[in-house]
């Protein structure tokens, strides 16, 4: 049987490693390997340390994988944002092109242009002459 003297530092080391892992420090696990290889430490504690170290490896691997996933997602988000900006730009361009097909004009401006021409002596004379000319022809059989 191992002595309580050999158990005490081993449990303290396990507690310390536990704390390090809880804080995300996966490199701080050398103590575990010391326990696993220390023949003076009771078998059950060494087995515990071994199980524990394999858990650490799994957690670390999972952490690494998650980190990569986050990186991938961030990259995907960046690409999506770029694509969205591109789409918004294309939409704007298409709208401009669509406006060309729309039958629309500035009514105020057209009205002003008409006034400019209609408000001349020449136009008024022409208007009167056109009117009399048409009524004259209408009277003809």
């Amino acid at each position: 049987m191992s002595s309580p003297d050999a158990m005490q530092p081993a449990i303290a080391s396990l507690a310390k490693t536990c704390e390090a892992i809880a804080n995300g420090r996966y490199d701080d696990v050398d103590g575990l390997f010391d326990i696993i290889t220390d023949k003076n430490v009771p078998e059950s504690i060494r087995a515990l340390a071994e199980t524990f170290s394999s858990m650490v490896v799994q957690v670390e691997a999972r952490e690494f994988h998650s980190g990569q996933l986050i990186e991938d997602l961030t990259e995907t988000r960046r690409k999506l944002e770029l694509a969205e900006a591109q789409l918004r730009k294309e939409n704007q361009e298409l709208k401009v092109r669509l406006d060309k097909f729309e039958v629309a004009y500035d009514e105020e401006e057209a009205k002003m242009e008409v006034e400019k021409v209609a408000d001349t002596d020449y136009f008024r004379t022409l208007q009167a002459r056109a009117k009399s000319m048409r009524s004259k022809y209408k009277k003809q059989p």
Partner: protein, 257 residues
Amino acid sequence: MTKIISTHSYRGGTGKSNVTANIAASLALRGHKVGIVDTDIQSPGIHTLFHVDLNTVTHTLNNYLWGYCGIKDTNLDITDGVKGPDGEPSITGPGKVFFIPSSIKTGDIARIVKEMYDVEALNRGFMEFCDTMELDYLLIDTHPGVNEETLLSIAISDTLLLILRPDIQDYQGTAVTLELARKLEVPQLFLVVNKALETFDFQDLSQRIFSNYRTPVAAVLPLSTDLIQIGSTGLIRTLHPDHAFTRSIETIADSIE
């Protein structure tokens, strides 16, 4: 009595001369006596469509307006200039096409633009042309834009054909010209949409233009590659009797006949 038809567009490049010439051919093919006056003195274009070589012509509308000759001296019978795909004259019936050209000499164009001319003389010329040739129809190909000559042509017209392209700038100018024509009480107003891309829905375009201007759309004419190839070297009406453009020209002729 002669029915006077003006073709006008607010901006250049609408294919106004082309439409005028093809309508003239269509009406003549129906047996009418048609006269055309090219009053687009700054950029005459009707003559090439009828294969008229203006270099051999001495009396033009310019000479008449300067008082150098009478209007009847400027008249050309271009009936045989309406040619079919075989190059032979298409009009064999009683129909006739008479033509008063504008000068293509750059000096003449510069002079008439710079010196202006008596718009009244132009009016008298129109009337004399109608009477002496006993025309059924007088087609006036006007200069683009709004000036005294075009307003006169519009004022004396029984029918005004306003040519426009499906384009925002043409929409604006068309609204202006239409309103002026209404003020001049032109009895018959028609819009003719030219150079519509074949990918457009013509029915829909026609409907939208009609509801915006509250003016009948006589036809929507297509812009197609074969039309570009013919360009201004001939009349589509007789060169391509089955073309969609020809069918639309016939529809316009139906409306004004």
